[in-house]
């Protein structure tokens, strides 16, 4: 009997095959097939994504993947965006840059989110990586324009510099002049977060003029409207453009210049910026509107009639970000003009006002759900909602992947029936089988969590605030949501029982945030003691948690899985519970 023998391929062949496998999930699957595949795969992995910079140490990453060219790191938990994470909590990138400087001399790309980046880190990047190409700093902080100058001067092949939503210490606009005259490789430049009034405009113009591959340019607020026509004429190949201030003196030539400039941009698909809009200049955009797939008007203080006029020209629109000035009437117009709409985000123009300042209600969202069959992702701030509306929306849009509803006043009930909104959100999770991200608001009892635990099997991220009645709510989520990776909770009556009963679940998730809940210090200690692969961090800015009885609730709790043990860079107001039950500081 002849035995069939599988001849193993030479490593080079396998490597070549693996090079077609890009997704992390697939790569991870490949690496566990057998030892030799693990070895081959790790030597040829070029891209690494680390969702929590404290889950693993730089040395460990370098040891396993010695030939990385591109790295993405995330630092602070999401609630840091809303000031819930105190300054100085952590998320420093310098240790990573320090290690990679030696280990990855050919590193090309660094993408960071919610990390603390210093000028020193930026200078180290500029010095250490000869072929550095892409720097994306998303919601980062801690650096100044001096650091940017170092990047501009030092990275000869820079193709992408994207500072989206970062907080930059704006010392001077002259950092732009540090791009050498020989730099012609820029493809993407996003400086929209900079506040400096003196962006060196002439340097910017020269830079734009000499980069023929520039596809994406997002200016900051300091660049006024009359300058935009010049820029666009220098870069008619732009695909994505962010204006600066959309305002200037009303002069006839500005409008005509602007209109001509925009119409010369035949590739333009995405627009943003629009601070301080003068509506009279909006018609300059009409020629590009029909090609637009993405429009960000979320800084534009224009009202419904003007928004409607603009949006009704945008028949190809797939993504719209807008302020609630759009109102229900504008959303209705959107629903009839933009049949390809996939993503909608409506932000509040007056988030702290108690009375509604605009007529934006549940009706607007219902019209969009009815008129836009491809709608997949929603972020909606409003002041009232009903279960009936949510049920209708769920039935109209079973393809939702992201649904984030924020009813501005906490614990707002269904305004017609005065019931909790459990049934409405229940309908969302029941109908939208592919739902990956959900944010809840309004009056909610433990029932909504029962629905979520039962139906939301693909849910990866859940945000909860001012909801639930008891530990049962948390228990439903932790025991039912099989795909859950990130859970963030604030101001809910969730305590020890559910947490401890589901401790093992926490190792299958990236992280759990709980603030202003009723988890006791004793439970945190126990969790830290029993679960060695979790870092249990207690955050308290007022006093050490051990100075109070163990039964006292902790202020903030952040639990995340990690293979590198407790971190060593904790500030004084963070305590971590370790295996021996001691509290590390």
């Amino acid at each position: 009997m002849q035995k069939k023998r599988a001849y193993s391929f030479p490593d080079e062949v396998l490597e070549h095959v693996f090079s077609f496998i890009q997704s992390d999930k697939d790569r991870n699957a490949v690496s566990v097939v057998c030892k030799s595949w693990y070895e081959i795969e790790r030597w040829c992995r070029r891209k690494v994504f680390i969702g929590n910079c404290y889950a693993v140490s730089p040395k460990m990453v370098i040891k396993r993947f010695p030939e990385v060219r591109s790295i993405e790191l995330k630092g602070k938990p999401h609630f840091a965006d809303f000031n819930l994470v105190p300054d100085g909590w952590g998320g420093y990138v310098l240790p990573w840059i320090g290690e990679m400087a030696g280990a990855y001399p050919w590193l090309e790309e660094i993408r960071l989110k919610r990390m603390v980046v210093t000028d020193e880190s930026l200078e180290l990047i500029a010095k250490s990586f000869k072929n550095f190409k892409v720097l994306v700093l998303f919601s980062c902080e801690g650096f100044s324009t001096d650091g940017l100058a170092a990047i501009a001067a030092g990275c000869k092949n820079l193709s992408e510099l994207d500072l989206r939503e970062s907080e930059v210490d704006d010392l001077s606009g002259h950092w732009l002049t540090h791009f050498p005259e020989t730099c012609t490789s820029l493809v993407s430049l996003n400086i929209s977060c900079l506040g400096s009034d003196e962006v060196s405009f002439s340097a910017l113009e020269r830079l734009v003029g000499r980069c023929p591959n520039l596809r994406s340019l997002r200016l900051n607020r300091a660049v006024s409207l009359d300058k935009i026509a010049n820029i666009l004429c220098l870069a008619p190949q732009l695909v994505d453009f962010g204006t600066g201030n959309y305002t200037t003196e009303l002069r006839p030539d500005v409008l005509s210049n602007l209109t001509a400039a925009f119409s010369s941009c035949k590739e333009l698909k995405s627009l943003s910026g629009f601070w301080d809009v003068v509506p009279a200049y909006l018609p300059a955009l009409y020629s590009v509107c029909s090609r637009l797939t993405s429009l960000n008007l979320s800084y534009a203080t224009i009202h419904s009639p003007e928004i409607i006029k603009l949006v009704s020209h945008c028949s190809s629109l797939q993504c719209l970000l807008v302020l609630d000035y759009i109102e229900d009437s504008g959303l209705e117009a959107l629903a009839s003009s933009c049949k390809d709409l996939q993503e909608l985000r409506v932000f509040p123009s007056d988030p702290f006002g108690v009375e509604p300042n605009v007529s934006l209600t549940e009706k607007g969202l219902v019209s969009v759900s009815l008129g836009c069959p491809k709608l997949q992702s929603v972020l909606y701030f409003c002041r009232r909602m009903t279960n009936a509306a949510l049920v209708t929306i769920a039935q109209n849009c079973p393809n939702f992947t992201h649904f984030r509803l924020c009813i501005i006043e906490p614990k707002t009930a269904d305004y017609m029936t005065l019931e909790p909104l459990d049934v409405g959100f229940g309908a969302i999770v029941e109908h939208c089988k592919d739902l990956r991200r959900l944010s809840l608001s309004g009056l909610l009892t433990d029932r909504v969590f029962e629905y979520i635990g039962t139906y939301a099997k693909k849910l990866e991220m859940l945000s909860v605030a001012f909801a639930g009645d008891s530990d049962l709510g948390l228990h439903h989520v932790l025991s039912g949501c099989e795909s859950l990776r990130k859970l963030e909770i604030r101001d809910c009556p969730f305590g020890d029982k559910a947490l401890l009963a589901n401790a093992a679940k926490l190792e299958t998730m990236r992280s759990l945030w709980m603030s202003s809940c009723t988890v006791s210090f004793g439970a945190c200690k126990l969790l830290g003691q029993k679960m060695h692969r979790l870092n249990v961090e207690v955050i308290d800015e007022t006093e050490p948690p051990c100075s109070r009885p163990k039964s006292c609730p902790v202020d903030k709790l952040y639990v995340y899985r990690s293979i590198s043990g407790p971190r060593s860079d904790m500030p004084p107001f963070v305590w971590t519970m370790d295996e021996e039950g001691t509290i590390l500081h």
Binding site: D81, F82, N83, L84, D87, E165, C193, G195, D197, N220, R221, A222, S224, N245, T247, E249, L250, W275, D276, V277, V278, Y299, T301, L323, P348, S349, D350, P351, F352, V354, C406, I408, E409, P410, K411, T412, A413, L418, E419, P420, D422, S439, L443, T445, D446, R447, S463, F466, D469, S470, L472, R490, D491, P493, G495, S515, S516, T518, T542, P553
Partner: protein, 225 residues
């Protein structure tokens, strides 16, 4: 009386333990509290919807408003201390001071609604003409954060402080003390907090309530007594 009731949050688990009189009072005075207290399941909470819930009390609740009463109190001093860092000792009912309420004195909740810092600034409408003024206004509003300059008298270097994380003078002064490395007693002895408002006038911070201070201030100065 109403104020007590408003402070009785349904999410406080201790209320689930049937503190009888408080519980029923909560139902009748404030619509939203009731269902939060018991909800769907039976058990401790009970189906409070059937608990003698009067029709006329079904108004849209303004729970938040009731909880801000402290900042309007004439003798603000004590209340500032209580609410300073979000601890709930301001409430007689909430006997468990460690039950954290992330309230922010005078400004509502910390981090709610969940909008990023640079969206919080009230929008300005552009006005036609006078490009220079526009540029100035744009520059003033251009900073994407809620930072203001702080100077200490006698010190050449100005610092910047993020106001959005502070909800009270307590919180602000303790950060300033840390920033300029001034001890508590030194502060009490030698310094006063002054600020320049939007009209350009210099005022003493201690003379005004937090809300007024926050809304009208342009920059801060630590002056020596």
């Amino acid at each position: 009386m109403e104020l007590h009731l408003g402070l009785a949050l349904p999410t406080n688990p201790f209320f689930q333990l049937k503190q009888g009189p408080f519980y029923t009072n909560v139902n009748t005075s404030n619509g939203s509290c009731s269902s939060g207290g018991g909800g769907g399941g039976g058990g401790a909470g009970g189906s409070n919807k059937r608990r003698g819930f009067d029709e006329e009390t079904r108004v849209v609740p303004k729970t938040l408003r009731l909880l801000l009463w402290n900042s309007d109190q004439p003798d603000g001093e004590d209340d500032r201390n209580d609410l300073g860092n979000g601890n709930s000792s301001s409430s007689a009912i909430l006997k468990y001071p460690s039950l954290p309420l992330s309230w922010n004195d005078g400004e509502g909740l910390v981090g709610w609604p969940p909008v990023k810092a640079w969206r919080k600034k009230p929008r300005r409408h552009a006005h036609n003409g006078r490009a220079n003024n526009n540029r100035m206004a744009a520059a003033a509003a251009a900073s994407n954060s809620t930072y203001v300059k702080v100077k200490m008298e006698g010190n050449a270097i100005a610092r910047k402080i993020d106001l959005s994380v502070h909800g009270s003078f307590e919180s602000l002064t303790s950060t300033l003390m840390r920033m300029f490395d001034i001890s508590e007693e030194h502060w009490q002895r030698s310094f006063k907090l002054a600020y320049q408002d939007r009209q350009g006038d210099w005022l003493l911070a201690e003379d005004v309530p937090w809300r007024t201070f926050i809304r009208s201030l342009k920059c801060i100065k630590l002056i020596r007594r």
